[in-house]
């Protein structure tokens, strides 16, 4: 930082840069007292941000085989004073942690003026398309913003690439003695083979509150037992309040699992239990993908 409290290279005379600096913002109010709105600079996303719930992606109620409306808000934190024409592409995918080959949904172009002193964003025109009737009852939406002089990365990386964002939350009904089977696809977003660690467990409180808010509920003070099954129903991970699985995936390979969720007691009406699945590199340090699931009681 320089003496003006700005990133190095800013606020001084020097080669001017008027290229766009695009992002799909995850937050519009500062996350901390001295923080800022989302300019795209903080990537990977801070841990306090729910990476699978980007409010800049807005969609109408989803039903397979029916038209779906999607709008995406983007911002340009770049220098200069003229607008850039950004391309926004929306993809959909089965509930997936990590994205390998999402399906094209629609694309739009939007003029985005640079905004350096306010959390301003520009929303695309409504994009309408129909996800096939064969698609699952829950899907993930993924969006990318790109400009020839500020291109989105070729890896679908909402956590590490400011050009990408996702809205990736599903719901399942659970009751004691009636375990839920939640479909879960694990995908390698990279073009090379790599080992990964998949973790599934309860969301931390702030994330749980955010997930509950999506369903108009409160976070439940309850616990669930989870385990991963392969598509033949064979258990592939330990069961417990959290579970994990080490696996190796080829380039852009995806593997389908089922998450078996069992609750000890019935979830009260108006409450939900949030689970998160995260895809990490082998060290468990770097988060590569995420997915949320809200468990609701049978009456909801």
């Amino acid at each position: 930082m320089n003496e003006e409290g700005q990133p190095d290279g800013q606020g001084h005379e020097g080669p001017p840069d008027t290229r766009p600096y695009l992002c799909i913002p995850y937050w519009t109010t500062p996350l901390s007292p001295n923080g800022s709105w989302d300019t795209g600079q903080q990537r990977p996303l801070p841990g306090t941000v729910v990476s699978y719930l980007c409010d800049s992606i807005q969609a109408s109620p989803y039903q397979p085989g029916q038209p779906l409306d999607v709008e995406v808000s983007v911002r340009n934190s770049g220098g200069g004073n003229s607008a850039s024409l950004a391309t926004v592409v929306v993809y959909w995918a089965d509930p997936t942690v990590g994205f390998a080959k999402p399906n094209f949904f629609a694309a739009s172009v939007v003029a985005v003026k640079p905004s350096r002193t306010a959390p301003a964003s520009t929303t695309t025109p409504t994009m309408t398309a129909t996800v096939p009737a064969s698609a699952p009852p829950h899907i993930c939406l993924l969006a990318a913003v790109s400009h020839p002089q500020d291109r989105a990365g070729t890896v679908c990386d909402p956590i590490g690439d400011r050009h990408w964002a996702q809205r990736n939350l599903q719901a399942a009904t659970v009751a004691p003695g009636a375990p839920a089977l939640v479909p879960l696809t694990v995908a390698n977003p990279f073009a090379e083979e790599a080992p990964f660690l998949v973790r599934v467990g309860p969301a931390e409180l702030r994330h749980a509150e955010r997930v509950a808010q999506e369903f108009g509920t409160e976070p439940a003070d309850a616990a669930a037992t989870v385990r991963l099954l392969d598509m033949d129903g064979a258990q592939v991970s330990e069961d417990g309040r959290a579970t994990q699985l080490l696996l190796s995936l080829g380039p852009r390979e995806s593997v389908r699992f089922q998450l078996l969720v069992d609750v000890a007691s019935e979830l009260p009406a108006g409450q939900s239990l949030a689970l998160e699945a995260t895809l990490l590199d082998r060290s468990g340090e770097r988060v590569i993908g995420s997915l949320g699931a809200a468990l609701l009681g049978p009456d909801q």
Binding site: Q10, G11, D17, T18, R19, N81, V109, S115, A152
Partner: protein
């Protein structure tokens, strides 16, 4: 000195203030009724009166700025047309390839391909004009140095500057004195409004600029235009520019003659106010009026064309279905190209960074050197040439190395080509059907869309350039840092700042030059106040209050006011003054002029 919007809004707020005021003196109350009736019945002369400083500035100017703006507006109109044409060409090319089996698709494709080449030639044709205009604008001849800053005597001052710094109160009184009917009274009321607006508004401008119009003419122009845009967007009394032009045009549309009664009124007031044997010759008021009308209309001409639509979803699906293989672009990646004359790459390499919250290098005039139109021309020429050359080979399912070479080459590093004779690709329906299924067809559609987007961005950059050089209003750009700095009063430590050594390189930033002594207090506007602060009631400095003070004296036939500097030169409410020494010396020997001094 304020802009048109500031003057217009000040008129509206003063009329409200005057209408709501009550006066115990029957003579003043009668004058109030008379003034209100005059303005209500003759709104055109009132607004023209509010523009009296603008009119005199135009009359005294050399016409360079208006000529420059006229050229810019002409280029802008042609650019808009070309952008629209490119949209139509794209629609035809994409439509023909999307439905190649439709009757007429081949002809539609061939015709559009011909038009696209003609379009590229036209773009190449105006590129030289754009470069020339840009170079002329960057001389900043449209912002001439203030004669006081050159230590000239007032006999050598132009009337635009003279009327703002000498006998200002007296000129308004002379207008009222000469007003013999409702039209002329309405004009005089408007001129009184302009007096108060400039006294208070110029103080606001000087506060945000960090100094005076005399010493910071580039920043002052930006501030003036930005405040005008802000008021146009936020104040209910604001009018669109063309509506203002219509209101001050008397007679039929297209009329540009200043009515003789108003010309006589202004001329009489000037002669009765100034000793014209010690001034430059009186300016041509009719010419000033014509220029004012044209200026208002030209300023309203710089609207961006419609945003280019993306290619149809069929094409977008092909182009973007694999996030790992996005479509190619012929534009430079990770390179900022706007600063290079005649195409080519320059300025900034590497990944971009967020811009500063404060005006920074990306706001300076050096970033405004090019709008990128040269690169659009190069890309279009290469794209069309390659596509047309390859069509035959693709139709026969052969690889076309020309196309691949084009995608691999850095076309943006080339010099813009000369116009070429268009080539009819002569595609048959069968060939079109074969081509449409190739991945290169989607690439072509994507690259053409990219070129259209770049042409639109070039227009956007051009408008920013014109706004940053002070030639046009920033309008919707007023919220960006370069302009936003003038819509909130800054906290200052010392005021006013002296001229800076190289203003063209630094006028985007608040000055850091030494204070001009004797230092004076900056205007008492609260930190953070927006431009409304000099117009609304409750402010320590309100335009309408200044006007009401002068109008009240005139109505009561009192005479105890002073001639206030309409640039607020040396601070709010400072009377007209002269320097006993050079204004370049420190401190300046400031001498306030007596009321009759010129």
């Amino acid at each position: 000195m304020l802009d048109y919007h500031g003057d217009c809004v000040a008129l509206g707020t003063f009329v409200d203030t005057l209408g709501a005021a009550s006066f115990p003196d029957p003579a003043v109350a009668a004058a109030q009724r008379e003034a209100m009736e005059a303005v209500g019945r003759e709104p055109g002369p009132a607004l023209l009166g509010a523009f009296v400083q603008q009119l005199l500035c135009h009359a005294a100017a050399d016409g360079w700025e208006l000529a420059l703006l006229r050229r810019a507006a002409d280029l802008w109109r042609r650019g808009q047309t070309l952008c629209d044409q490119l949209g139509a060409i794209r629609a035809d090319l994409e439509g023909a390839m999307e439905h190649p089996a439709d009757p007429g698709s081949a002809e539609r494709f061939n015709t559009a391909a011909l038009r696209a080449q003609e379009f590229a030639n036209e773009m190449a044709g105006i590129r030289a004009e754009i470069d020339e205009l840009r170079a002329d604008a960057l001389t900043f001849r449209h912002l001439p140095r203030h004669p006081r800053q050159a230590d000239l005597g007032t006999d050598a001052w132009d009337w635009g500057n003279l009327q703002l710094a000498r006998r200002t109160d007296a000129f308004v009184r002379a207008l009222f004195q000469a007003a013999g009917d409702a039209r002329s009274l309405s004009f005089a009321v408007g001129a009184a409004c302009a007096y108060g607006a400039n006294v208070a508004g110029s103080a606001y401008l000087g506060h945000t600029v960090g100094g005076l119009r005399r010493t910071h003419r580039h920043r002052d122009r930006l501030a003036r235009n930005t405040v005008g845009s802000w008021l146009a967007a936020h104040h209910p009394k604001a009018l669109p520019l063309t509506a203002m032009a219509d209101q001050v045009r008397f007679g039929q549309a297209g009329t540009t003659e200043l009515p003789t009664d108003l010309a006589g009124l202004i001329g009489t007031a000037l002669v009765n106010t100034f000793d014209t044997t010690r001034t430059a010759p009186l300016p041509d008021l009719g010419l000033g009026y014509q220029r004012l009308l044209e200026h208002l209309e030209l300023l309203d001409a710089f609207r961006l064309p419609a945003e280019p639509p993306p290619p149809g979803q069929v094409w977008m699906n092909t182009l973007w279905s694999d996030p790992g293989a996005p479509p190619p672009s012929l534009r430079p990646q990770d390179v900022d190209v706007v600063g290079q004359d005649g195409g080519g790459v320059a300025v900034q390499y590497g990944p971009g960074e967020p811009g500063s919250h404060k005006p920074d290098g990306s706001d300076g005039s050096k970033t405004a050197k090019g709008c990128g139109i040269g690169i659009v021309v190069i890309i279009l020429f290469d794209l069309l040439q390659a596509f047309i050359q390859c069509i035959g080979q693709w139709a026969n399912h052969h690889t076309c190395t020309f196309w691949k070479n084009m995608l691999l080459s850095k076309v943006f590093e080339k010099d813009p080509p000369d116009p070429r004779d268009p080539t009819n690709p002569g595609v048959t329906q069968d060939q079109l059907t074969a081509i449409a299924a190739t991945p290169q067809a989607a690439e072509f559609v994507g690259l053409l869309s990219d070129s259209h987007g770049q042409a639109w961005e070039a227009m956007s950059r051009a408008r920013t350039f014109l706004a940053s050089t002070g030639l046009v209003y920033p309008a919707d750009l007023a919220g960006l840092p370069l302009f936003e700095q003038f819509t909130a009063v800054p906290a200052v430590d010392g005021w006013p700042h002296r001229e800076v050594a190289d203003p063209e390189a630094s006028y985007h930033s608040y000055p850091v030059s030494p204070i001009e002594h004797p230092a004076t207090e900056p205007p008492p506007f609260p930190t953070g106040a927006n431009p409304e602060v000099f117009l609304e009631g409750g402010s320590p400095l309100q335009a309408a209050t200044v006007t009401l003070g002068l109008w009240g004296q005139i109505a009561a036939n009192e005479h105890s006011s002073r001639n206030l500097d309409l640039d607020a030169d040396r601070g709010f409410g400072h009377p007209c003054w002269t320097a006993g020494n050079s204004v370049q010396t420190d401190p300046i020997d400031v001498s306030v002029l007596d009321y009759d001094d010129q």
